[in-house]
């Protein structure tokens, strides 16, 4: 189920990106965070606990919404716009964290 609910501005041009290999339908002008959370409940797995995360501040201060490009570049999902053909990963490529959860 989606976490975010669209309340208007829905006649923008559609955009398709790929998240963890799966196509995700978004709208032009969506942030990555909105693209992901209008289509699902969470953004990523916490590295320090058992819970999944979905961002917190939406203004680039908390860093809770990091996602990655396939090249390994880190993006803040709240402040990066979704673009056609984007390929996003919700876990850091090649990294392993000591998840104590």
């Amino acid at each position: 189920m989606s976490r975010f609910v669209r309340l208007g501005e829905t006649d923008r041009p559609p955009v398709t990106l790929h998240v963890d290999g799966q196509p995700v339908a978004a709208l032009e002008g969506d942030t990555l965070m909105v693209a992901l959370l209008a289509n699902g409940g969470t953004l990523r797995q916490s590295e320090f606990g058992p819970e999944k995360r979905a961002g917190f501040c939406l203004m680039g201060a908390c860093q809770d919404c990091w996602v990655w490009t396939e090249k390994g570049d880190r993006l803040r999902a709240c402040s990066t716009l979704a673009a056609p053909g984007q390929r996003i990963l919700t876990s850091q490529p090649g990294a392993s964290w000591p998840n104590h959860g």
Partner: protein, 457 residues
Amino acid sequence: MAEPRIIIVGAGPAGTRAAEACVAAGLRPTVIDEGRRDGGQIYRRQPDHFTRPYGKLYGTEAGRAQAVHGAFDAIKGRIDYRPETLVWNIADRHVWTANGAAQEALPFDALLLCTGATDRLMPVKGWHFAGAYSLGGSQVALKSQAVSIGHRVIFMGSGPLLYLVASQYVEAGAQVAAVLDTSPFSARVKAMPDLMAVPSVLWNGVKLTRALKRAGVLVHHGVTPLEIIGDADTGVSGIRYRDGGGKERQIACDAVAMGYHLRPETQLADLARCAFAFDVGTRQWLPERDGDGRASVAGVYLAGDGAKILGARSAEASGKLAALAALTDLGLPVDKGAMASLRGAVATYAKFARGLAKAFPWPVDQAAALPDDAILCRCEGVTAGDLRSVMRETGAKEANRAKAFSRVGMGRCQGRYCGLAAAELIAAEAGIPVEQVGRLRGQAPVKPLTIAIGDEE
């Protein structure tokens, strides 16, 4: 003489008015802003393809938002504007910037820090679950993206923004389950003399509360938040709290927006080596400044909510005033009458802000009352109990020492969201005034940089 190099950090209401004053004096300031567009957080502009009009986006502040945007548009061609650029350090009279992988060190003669604010948060058990958001974040979702943070939203905390955002959600068609305010209604009555300093803003607040009640939204005052109920995989499912009468209640929701006023982003002032002083009214350490915005370090000026939370209207005045102070110090002619009237405006807003702090107090007791298993640091999942046992084991009673041992404040957000509550918890635990706990020192980089920046060198 070469043109003085003026750098303004931030393009919200304070930065915009500061830049406008510099341009009016015939100068070309550099304006560095993290945002994709100008406006800051409060007057954040929506991306291309969004079509909502000003009235819908900014409500009672539509005229002001439009005026600030218009002012920025008018000077855009006459400033060195650097959007999507982070100032991550200030050292040796240089501002260090990062834009993607590109970085620069820019020298300055005058530096105006208009860095704005983020939400002040009081942790509650369960605030790490997916679906718990900062109040400001919930407003950004609506204003900048036309989305609600959930299907059934609870607004919890205190301060005027709580009512503003809740009513904006209702108006936009979102389902608001409740507004839970930790401040008792009696506090508002006591604050009335100060709140009367700006009657129009007070009246707007009264109208918002009425609109919420008319819409059938449950509004509770004097509540004590107990827990955000949730699940590791699916996130938030409800809130447990004690109402003003002491009765425990539970409400179902899938999203919580929480905030207790704002806190200024002072890290850059810290890195510029500005002196700080403890502000009793807000229980925060703030950079010192004179009445016109001069910091303790020559050539550094502070304005807007990044210096002290006085609101967007005040930010416009203090931004312009700080710029005029800088121009004066650079030996340029300025309108002394304009400075005097700006000082008057700032003083009026300061009185109003004192009223707001009294009406919607920071619930310090909740930090002390956090159960040991509640997460205090969201970044790294450090609990209140972890911090308490570090204090017992090491005797740490100072903010930076406690941080070093417990990692509270050392995570990705660098203490922005846990730091103030952690200080209150330490103070309560150690039985000392919170000012003795001190403040978390600002560290460069003030936000995480991409590793690629190091590769460029």
